[in-house]
Every structure is written in structure tokens, then in C-alpha cells.
């Protein structure tokens, strides 16, 4: 049998196993149907095509990209215009620290100090006086330390009647004398003394015939630069507490000690004096700060934030030492940043806020990262591929439709029809594509055309601008084909013009059309992506490979966020390469004498 091997290369060298082997004794002719496996022309083309490795690679690329773009959007858990956000710590104004340079008043319960009196008080302190008057009421100032004064007001607390050598006191409402007070009073009155002292308070006596008016310097308020902050939110200081604390502070400072103690309402407190402030501990629980006393005011920016005394102390220490950062917290330390602004310190602390996750590096949630709008890039690549590929196909379809019709009619009829159509082709050939596309793009920009409508216009314009070449090719082919015998036969058998053109002529042009279509597909994708890159093609929110890459015009993105533009660029390159590989393979397969 070897000598009878078929001489044509395209026939399979070894007979297909399915063909029944003829009995050996029977001699059969060379062109016997059973021996010669006839392949149809399209089968031959197919065989040649699949032998081309680059072409197969191209087909594989196109299949993968099609799958990626068509099926991908259904698999992807995200939408193409879904914006991703995340919670992050952002440094925001946390608190402001000020040095208090005016008196703060702690007014005794039940008493009052009018604003006018407060103004007088400041003046008196500035002048170094120890008393002042306002609206007929006299006030005395008792210095506790340089920045704290106790204000007292002389008020009548009672009267005493002198009756037959006896002293009968009657008191003003609210004045409850302690035991022994009456004896002291009687003794002083008997001696006709001007004043007497009882339990730290000095009482003045004014005699008038039989009646003695008892006046006492009643404490009204405490004026101090210092502010008391309690460890528990909402707790307000009392006059007694503030006064005792200030006094203890003054005592400790005077004695040059760092600690002191005082008692208010039966509770013992310990005060630890520091340069910036004093910390107050309750004797019952010495570990937890009870309150702090300082002339620094720490004002939180957010109304619901409470600043603990310990934290405040740490902050003030940092401020005093001129630090720019403070780390606070034992379990998860938080870094606070302190910045001085004239007489203020601004403390910035981390605050949780929702941020758009833009330019996020690739991660498990976002395999390719996110773009400048916080959208998932992989999803946008998929949708973008769908748009880019469908633009390619629709444009090729439009130009094929117009081109084949025009070329077919022109080539078949000839004469003035041919002449007219060919001049139209010439005109279209000369119209520069890019300028027209750019002009249309900017006009649609001016009119703010809806992105989806714009997409349709774009396809139509691209298709309408690219039919001329196809028409010319089809016409040329048909001109040479119609002179051949099979067309004469078709005409002789009385086929209609429509049938002759579209059933007999056009199929013979199809190889060239397929080659030109694959080429146009690739170049259309390039054109579309370049146009979108320039911002004149497919518009946000629709994704296209071109408009994903637009971000690269920002040099920062170009250098730092490669994952934004490189994948999209690779998608374009690979897809167009796929089309070109396939086109090249088809060209070789259809026209074997060129290559093999």
C-alpha cells in the first residue's frame, strides 16, 4: 500500500481509523472514493489554521478574554459602579488646651456674685487692693495664693438685744450658730468689743442703744485661675471643695512640699502638687485620681468626649515639656499629636471615619485593587472588556453591512452606480477619522449626552467611518469574480440578481472579509480605548479598558499605582494581539501559497 499513498499533502497521511480498509486482494483505482479522503475547502482551511501555533494562541487568548468579559460580570460579587468604603482612623481635632488667664468663679451655694462685682474684683486684684465695693455691698478679698482669692461679703447674720444685763440673740434666716457661739457673743458684748472671733470667722459688732448688730464676713465665692476636673463625668465642684483644695495647694507650695491633705465634709483628700497642676486623690482610694486642679483648660472638641484627669495630666506634662506626641493607653496605645498654636495647644487624636477605598492595593477582597473612585478594578475590567469587545463587534458588523452592500452593488452593476459609489468611497477615504472622532467626542461632552446613548453614537460613528475600505475590497473582488465561468453559468441558469450577488459572489469574498473583520476588530478596540483614554469615548460610570487607564495622566498614579493602569493596558494589548494572531493565521490558512 505505501506506493499508493495519496500525493496531496492536505489529505491525512494515515487513513482515518474509521474508514473501512478494503480487502487486500481487490485492486482499486487511485482516485477511488474509498481511498481518497476528500476534504472540503473550508476543512482544508481549518486544518491549515489549527497547524499554526500563533493562531491557536490567538484563539485561546480570545476565548479567555471573552469568557473573562462575558461571564466574569456574572461571577463577580460586585457591581461595576459599586463604591467601596472602609473605616479608618483619621487624625482629627480631639481637644484644645488653653492656659486660663481670667478668673473662674466658684460661687458658694445660695450666694451670688454679679458680673459687675466680678469685674470690680479683677480690678481690685490688679491694683493689689484687698476689698472692693459694688452697689453698696462691700466685699473682702482674701489671698489664698497668687492666682486664687476667696471673696467674702459682710452680711448681718443676727441681732442681739441687751435686756437687763442679758444678751438675747436672734439670727437671720440661714445662719445656724454652732454650740458655744452664744457664750462667745455674750463675752464680747459684755466687754463692748468691736469684734470677736469664733471658729475661724470674725464677727463685727455694731452697738446701737440696746441692740447689737452682728455682721460676719460670709464667704461668697472663690476666684481662681485653676479649674477643677473630676474623674467622674458630670460631677461639679462645690465651693467648699474648691476652697479647701486651693488652700491645701497654697499650703503645699509655700512649704515647698509636693504633697498636702485636706478634709471636706468629713472626707479626707490627698493633693499631689505638680508644676502644671495638682492631682487630688481620695484617701479612701489612693490609686484612682479623684480630681485635678490646674489652670490649663482642656476642652474636648466633641461634646460627648470626657477627658480623665490622668489623661489630662499626661497631656499637660507633654505640653509643659514641649512634646509633639503623646502615647496614651495601656492595652492599645493611641498616639495623640500635639501642636502649639500661639497660646493654644491643639491635640489631634485618631477618630474613626468612613473613607472611600481609593487606590487600594490588590488584596483578597479586591484582586486587582480599587481605582480612584473606590470601585473594584477587576470587576470594572470585566465590564470594561464587555464594552470594549461589544463595541468592536458592533462596529465591525455595521461597517461590514454597509461595506458589503455598497461594494457588492458597485461591483456587480458597474457603470454609473459603480462610479457614484466609488466616489463616495473616495470621499469617505479622505475624511480623516481621528479628527472627526475627537470633534464628535467634544461635542457630546458639551451636550452632556447620557453615557449609554453616547455609547450607541460612538459605535455608529466608528462603523460609519470604516466601511469605505471594505466596500473597495468587495468591489475589487467582485469585479474579478463576475468574469469567471461560474457567474456566467449562474446568469445562464436564470438566477435573480439578488441571488447571484449574495449567494454566489459574496461567499467568495468571505475569506477576505473574515481577515479584514478580525483586523478591524483589533483596531477598533485600540481606537475606542485611545478615545476613552482621552476622555472622549466611553464615559464614567460605564467602564471601558480605555477609561480605566485615564487615571495614568496623573503622574502620581503612573508611578505609584501600577495596578490601576497596567492590567487594563495588558487586557487591551493581549486582546488586540489575539485578534491579530487569529487574523494572521486566517490569512495564511486562506492563502496558502503566501506562506507554505
Amino acid at each position: 500500500m505505501p506506493q499508493d499513498k495519496p500525493d496531496r499533502d492536505q489529505m491525512s497521511a494515515t487513513p482515518a481509523p474509521s474508514t473501512p480498509n478494503p480487502p487486500p486482494q481487490e485492486t482499486i483505482a487511485l482516485d477511488d472514493e474509498r481511498r481518497v479522503k476528500v476534504l472540503s475547502p473550508s476543512m482544508l482551511v481549518f486544518r491549515r489554521f489549527i497547524r499554526n501555533r500563533l493562531a491557536i494562541l490567538g484563539v485561546a487568548i480570545l476565548l479567555v478574554m471573552t469568557f473573562f468579559s462575558v461571564v466574569g460580570p456574572f461571577i463577580s460579587p460586585y457591581r461595576q459602579d459599586q463604591v467601596f468604603t472602609h473605616d479608618d482612623l483619621v487624625y482629627a481635632d480631639f481637644a484644645g488646651i488653653m492656659v486660663n488667664d481670667t478668673f473662674r468663679y466658684t460661687v458658694k451655694e445660695g450666694a451670688s456674685l454679679s458680673p459687675g462685682a466680678r469685674a470690680q474684683l479683677t480690678q481690685a486684684v490688679n491694683r493689689g487692693l484687698d476689698h472692693f465695693a459694688y452697689r453698696g455691698v462691700g466685699y473682702d478679698l482674701t489671698r489664698i495664693h497668687d492666682e486664687a482669692y476667696a471673696v467674702t461679703q459682710n452680711a448681718i447674720c443676727g441681732y442681739a438685744l441687751l435686756f437687763a444685763g442679758r444678751v438675747i440673740p436672734s439670727y437671720e434666716e440661714g445662719f445656724e450658730p454652732a454650740a458655744g457661739f452664744e457664750d462667745a457673743l455674750k463675752e464680747a458684748v459684755d466687754a463692748r468689743a468691736e469684734e470677736f472671733t469664733f471658729e475661724n470667722a470674725t464677727y463685727d459688732l455694731a452697738y446701737d442703744d440696746r441692740e447689737v448688730a452682728i455682721t460676719v464676713a460670709a464667704p461668697v465665692a472663690l476666684a481662681s485661675y485653676n479649674v477643677v476636673n473630676f474623674a467622674t463625668a458630670g460631677q461639679k465642684t462645690s465651693f467648699a471643695f474648691s476652697l479647701a483644695a486651693e488652700q491645701a495647694l497654697a499650703a503645699a507650695r509655700e512649704a515647698g512640699e509636693s504633697e498636702g491633705s485636706f478634709t471636706v465634709e468629713g472626707r479626707d483628700y490627698r493633693i499631689v502638687v505638680d508644676e502644671a497642676e495638682a492631682m487630688i486623690y481620695e484617701a479612701a482610694s489612693p490609686d484612682d485620681a479623684f480630681a485635678s486642679l490646674s489652670k490649663y483648660i482642656v476642652q474636648p472638641v466633641m461634646p460627648d468626649v470626657f477627658i480623665e484627669p490622668e489623661f489630662k495630666e499626661a497631656l499637660l506634662t507633654a505640653v509643659e515639656e514641649g512634646e509633639s506626641e503623646l502615647v496614651w493607653g495601656e492595652e492599645d496605645p493611641i498616639v495623640y499629636r500635639i501642636r502649639r498654636e500661639n497660646l493654644r495647644w491643639n491635640v489631634r487624636g485618631p477618630r474613626k471615619s468612613q473613607l472611600v477605598s481609593y487606590y487600594m492595593s490588590p488584596s483578597w477582597e479586591h484582586w486587582v485593587g480599587t481605582d480612584g473612585n473606590g470601585m473594584d478594578l477587576l470587576t470594572r475590567l470585566m465590564y470594561g472588556g464587555r464594552i470594549s469587545l461589544s463595541i468592536g463587534f458592533v462596529v465591525v458588523l455595521i461597517s461590514l453591512l454597509i461595506g458589503v452592500t455598497m461594494g457588492g452593488i458597485s461591483g456587480y452593476f458597474g457603470g454609473w452606480v459603480d462610479m457614484l459609489i466609488m466616489r463616495a468611497v473616495d470621499v469617505f477615504y479622505c475624511i480623516p477619522t481621528w479628527p472627526i472622532l475627537i470633534i464628535f467626542g467634544s461635542v457630546m461632552d458639551t451636550y452632556r449626552v447620557n453615557p449609554y446613548v453616547r455609547l450607541v453614537y460612538l459605535m455608529m460613528i466608528l462603523g460609519f467611518l470604516s466601511w469605505a475600505g471594505i466596500a473597495r475590497l468587495v468591489r475589487g473582488q467582485i469585479l474579478s469574480l463576475r468574469e469567471q465561468e461560474f457567474m456566467v453559468a449562474a446568469e445562464a441558469s436564470g438566477l435573480s440578481v439578488y441571488r447571484r450577488i449574495f449567494k454566489h459572489l459574496v461567499p467568495n469574498v468571505i475569506p477576505q472579509l473574515i481577515i479584514i473583520a478580525t483586523g478591524t476588530l483589533g483596531s477598533t478596540i485600540l481606537t475606542e480605548s485611545t478615545l476613552s483614554f482621552l476622555g472622549l469615548g466611553v464615559k464614567y460610570p460605564i467602564a471601558s479598558w480605555g477609561n480605566i487607564i485615564t487615571a495614568v495622566s496623573d503622574v502620581n498614579v503612573m508611578t505609584n499605582y501600577l495596578f490601576v493602569w497596567v492590567p487594563a493596558s495588558l487586557c487591551i494589548v493581549i486582546t488586540v494581539l489575539g485578534f491579530n494572531f487569529v487574523g494572521d493565521g486566517l490569512r495564511d490558512a486562506f492563502d496558502p501559497k503566501m506562506k507554505r
Partner: protein
Amino acid sequence: MRQFIIKRLLWAVMILFLVAFVIYLLMRALPTSYVEAIARERAAAQTGMSYKQWLEQLTAIYRLDVHPVIGFFHWVGNAIRGQFGTSWHWGVDVVQKFRDVIPASIILGASAFVLEIVIAIPLGILAARKQYSLTDYTVTFMALIGISLPTFFVATILKMVFAVNLGWLDLYGMVSRDHRRMTDLQKVLDIASHMIMPVLTIVVISVGSLMRYTRTNMLEVLNADYIRTARAKGLSERRVINYHAFRNTLIPIVTIVGGTLPSLFSGALITEQLFQIPGIGWISYISMTRGDIPFTMFYLSFMAILTMLGNLISDILYAVVDPRVRVS
């Protein structure tokens, strides 16, 4: 031959007229956004005239109030005399602006053109001579990749490597900041260094097609009978390739290359825009996006003429180079 050329020229003029008409109609059919924008701007500047009044006045100034067909004949009448009007956006005579910017485009185009030919033709011939070798596959593969690359991608990669990472070249522009203070030699070198990336971009994306074209034609020639004859009569391989094959390959290549000659003047629209080279391409891009009708009309007609010329040159060259065409 002369008759052929004259006939073709007449046709070309005819087609150009039609192209210009189509473009003019297109431009007029487009919204006169430029005029509207200017009118809005001036009305907002409180010049004492309302938007409507400005619009009317501007429309009259820019001759947009006449019927498009009449307007077209006005335009053609002026264009024949070389008057293309004053550019709306640039504020100078269109032809003057064109003269100012065309040198940059010619430098860019010519350098790229020379490089392309120097690279593409030898490589294409090499690939054809060693068909199916590794060289052939490499050349084909490179050519296809070049064709598949989008301009902006090539430009971005080049910028990234040479301007950002290595810092050798400037990202944009045609001259450095201190260009005015340079000596003449430095000025030339400065422009040359700014042209490197744009030229490379153009070469990378367009060298592929010429390379493939050369290869295909060389293959065709190598399979021709007269090459077989030349080999059969014992000529050295070098003589066969350089003398018999190469000369015949030149016929289609010269035709194609000749046809692309006019496009040297058309500027590289996208590349110039990407590198902000003030050539005809970038300037036209700005004019087009701003709706500057006089400049755009000029540029579009200019492009059409160049395309026309390209076709004409390749047809004539074909007849000139190939004696067989002349005989028939």
C-alpha cells in the same frame, strides 16, 4: 503617463471639493458651542449686552448666519486664495499658526519615518530569508505586538522608565525651561532629547506593519520563478538576495513608503497630545475640542489633501518603479 496623472489630479480636486463640502456641512451642523461659550462669557462679564445680543453679534462676525451651502462657497472662495481666516481659539491667522507649529511635526514625523524604514526593511527581509526560523518568529511576533500596542500605553511605559524612574528625559514638552538661555548647539540637543520618547512611541506602534509588509513581499519574490532561475544558474546567495530579490521587493515597498510621505506633515495627533509637543497634531486637538471652526476646517482639509496626495504618489510611483505597469 501625463494623461494618467492629469486625469487623477482632476479627480483628486473633485473629491477634495466633495470632502471639504461634507466636512463643512458637518462643522456647521455641529452646535456652535464655541460662539455660545464666548457669548455666555462676555454676557457674564457685564459688558452691557445680553447673551442673546452677543450671540447674534458673534454669529454675524463669524459668518454663521448665512446658509451652510452659501457659507461653504464663501469658504472655498477664500481658501483658494489661501485665506483661511483667523483662528478663534488662537487669535492669529490660521496659516500663520500652521507655519509656527508645523516644524515640530515635521521633525517628529521625519525622524520616526527614517527610523522605521531603517528598522523595518532589513528586519522584514531577514525574516523572509530565514522563514520559519527563530528570527522569523521573533520578528513576526514583535511586529504583531507593535501593531497591538495602544499609543498611550507605549507612551506611558516610556515616560515611566525614562522620565520618572531614570529621570533622563522630561515628561512633557518640546523644550526645557531654560531653553532661551542655551547656545544654538544646546538648543538643538535639547529639542532632540525631547523628541526621543515621541519618536520611539511612533516607531514602536507603526514599525510592525511595514515590517510585515516587507516580509510578505520578500517571501513572494523569493518564491518567484526568476529567483529559482538565478539560483539555478549558480549565482551566489548574496547576489541572488541583494540583486535579484531585493530590487523586486522594493517595488511594492517604494509604493507604500511613497504613499506615506505626505503623512509626515499631518502630525501625530495622539502622540503629540500625549507628550504635549506643540506640533500640528496637538494644536489641532486643542482647536477641535474648543470648537475652533476655522482652524479645524483648515486642518481637516489639509489632512484630506495629504491622504489624496498619498494615494496619488503611490499610484504614480507604482507606474514609475515597475516598468511592466508602464507597458500595459
